[in-house]
């Protein structure tokens, strides 16, 4: 090898499949020694054409398809899609259904954050903590299973309400789980936050400044850990959140300072587990009696959806941040357009400032720290004649100009 080729910066490709990454994404690092000089990434390896499938199905079917966009946030996507369709068709959701939606939503947040905490511990090489968090997570999974009938792919949300009521016999099950978590939270916080190894590996690692977080439109716990006060449940309440007392969890309210590093992201997520427990408790005590769906007869619901025209947007605070569904109905069985913007999509760009200047050994924990969910995110892949191509801004501009010319004749 010639001396020329050995000179820094070296290019280190990681991915699309790599043991350090839980989902396929392609990274190219420019390394100088152990330090990352620059980084680029290419998502789009897990595109499944879900929107294409949705445009050939009716809203009642799509709700179950949205469950399968992501294995962790099942209720988030179906809730956000239902909100959009309800907006178009003018369906008023009964109050009790709103509360049940909120309860399942919060249980999902608990299990998702605990899952993330386990993954974070695993990325640090702390596997005993991974097993401990995941064992604790099972409690939430069991309750979700009891409420909805399945551990994942809950299928509880339907356009117009929910499909299952929470009966009085289920209250003790929920209560027991909440008591377990409230008792465990301090222990978990101490396991993660007082541990010297975790402090050394996470403090001031993968820093995202407040300014960067705002400029890159970061959402969810990643933004909150950088001190940005955003939480859809507080800013634009949906479901029952308007009646509930939700305040965004910010690190400075609990630690007195914001670093915007991986450690702060752990703090925010773990404290949100406690917050979710409080929300569920409040929901259970304030839940009004009444029907759980606006339209019990599915045939009528299908007819209402078929008549509906217009466009709607459903926004939901997923465990990873804001999830947005855009739906357009034009008086047909299936929607004319359906666009999903998952929360990780907004967060991916924050990898670049986080990874710049960090060490190669910190890459796994920094990549995992935004809790990326790439199967949610990948929505576009351009494949033509077996070749993939990426349209840059200039290409899109050129195509747009060409179309105007064409229309002008």
């Amino acid at each position: 090898m010639s001396g020329e080729a050995k000179k820094a910066p070296y290019r280190v490709p990681i991915g699309p499949n790599h043991p350090a990454l839980k989902e396929p994404v392609m990274f190219t690092f420019e390394m100088e020694g152990e330090v990352v000089k620059d980084v680029d990434f290419a998502p789009g390896q897990a595109h499944r054409g879900i929107e294409w499938m949705g445009m050939r199905r009716n809203p009642v079917q799509i709700v179950h398809l949205t469950d399968r966009i992501c294995g962790i946030c099942g209720v988030v996507h179906s809730l956000s899609f239902s909100l959009a369709v309800e907006q178009i068709a003018g369906i008023e959701v009964p109050e009790r259904a709103d509360y049940i939606r909120a309860i399942v939503h919060e249980f999902e947040r608990i299990q998702s954050h605990l899952l993330w905490a386990g993954v974070a511990a695993h990325e640090l090489g702390f596997d005993s903590l991974l097993h401990l968090t995941w064992r604790v997570r099972e409690e939430a999974m069991d309750v979700i299973e009891n409420l909805t009938g399945n551990r994942v792919n809950y299928g509880i949300v339907q356009v117009g309400g929910v499909r299952r009521d929470i009966v009085p016999e289920q209250h003790p099950v929920i209560e027991k789980c909440l008591a377990t978590y409230e008792g465990l939270l301090d222990t978990l916080l101490s396991f993660f936050l007082d541990d010297r190894t975790i402090q050394m590996r996470c403090r001031d690692v993968g820093v995202l400044s407040r300014r960067d977080a705002l400029e890159l439109c970061t959402v969810g716990p990643t933004a909150r850990a950088s001190g940005v006060n955003v939480d859809l449940r507080q800013d634009y309440p949906y479901a029952a959140y308007g009646d509930l007392d939700v305040k965004a969890i910010l690190p400075e309210r609990h630690l007195g300072e914001t670093h915007g590093d991986v450690y702060d992201r752990i703090v925010v997520r773990l404290l949100e587990v406690g917050q979710s427990c409080q929300i569920i408790r409040q929901c259970l005590s304030e839940m009004p009696a009444g029907p759980v769906t606006a339209e019990e007869k599915l045939v009528k619901l299908l007819a209402t959806c078929k008549k509906a025209t217009g466009e709607g947007i459903g926004r939901v605070e997923a465990p990873r941040g804001e999830c947005l569904h855009y739906v357009r109905m034009e008086g047909k069985d299936s929607p004319a357009s359906w666009k999903v913007k998952a929360s990780s999509y907004s967060n991916l760009m924050s990898w670049i400032p986080m990874l710049r200047g960090s060490q190669i050994a910190d890459i796994p924990i920094i990549v995992a720290s935004i809790d990326p969910c790439l199967s949610c995110t990948d929505r576009v892949a351009i494949v033509q004649d077996n070749r993939r191509s990426i349209l840059s801004k200039d290409d899109l501009h050129r195509l747009s100009v060409e179309k105007t010319r064409r229309l002008q004749g």
Partner: protein
Amino acid sequence: MRTLPLVPELVRQLFRRPATNRFPAKYLPPSIRVFLREVQAGRAAANPPVPTPPKFRGKIAYDRDSCIGCTLCVKVCPAHAIEFIPDTKKIRVWVDQCIFCSQCTSICPKSCLSMTDAFLLAGEDRYAEELIVE
């Protein structure tokens, strides 16, 4: 501040029962399929699985006689797992495609579709007899 707060918990774990339910056997048999066949034949005993929750959505059951062939279930099935057979005016459910959403059981006007507790459905042949309900 403690430097290793997890250590006492780890020591405690040593004396607790493992949280994992060892299904189907305490130790991994050389071949799961052979082992399950032995269990079916009554020659071996399996560790029972974790019980299913109430109203669990498992393999679909179909009451052929009360079906009126209205095809509503075909309209709401997200996975296109239900096929309508015009000759007999009855349906056929391909369980290998079923996503267990239970939407067809909710829409059925005669309640002839229902979800059972069966969940051990993995197989190699998607056209196996036990994976087609009609």
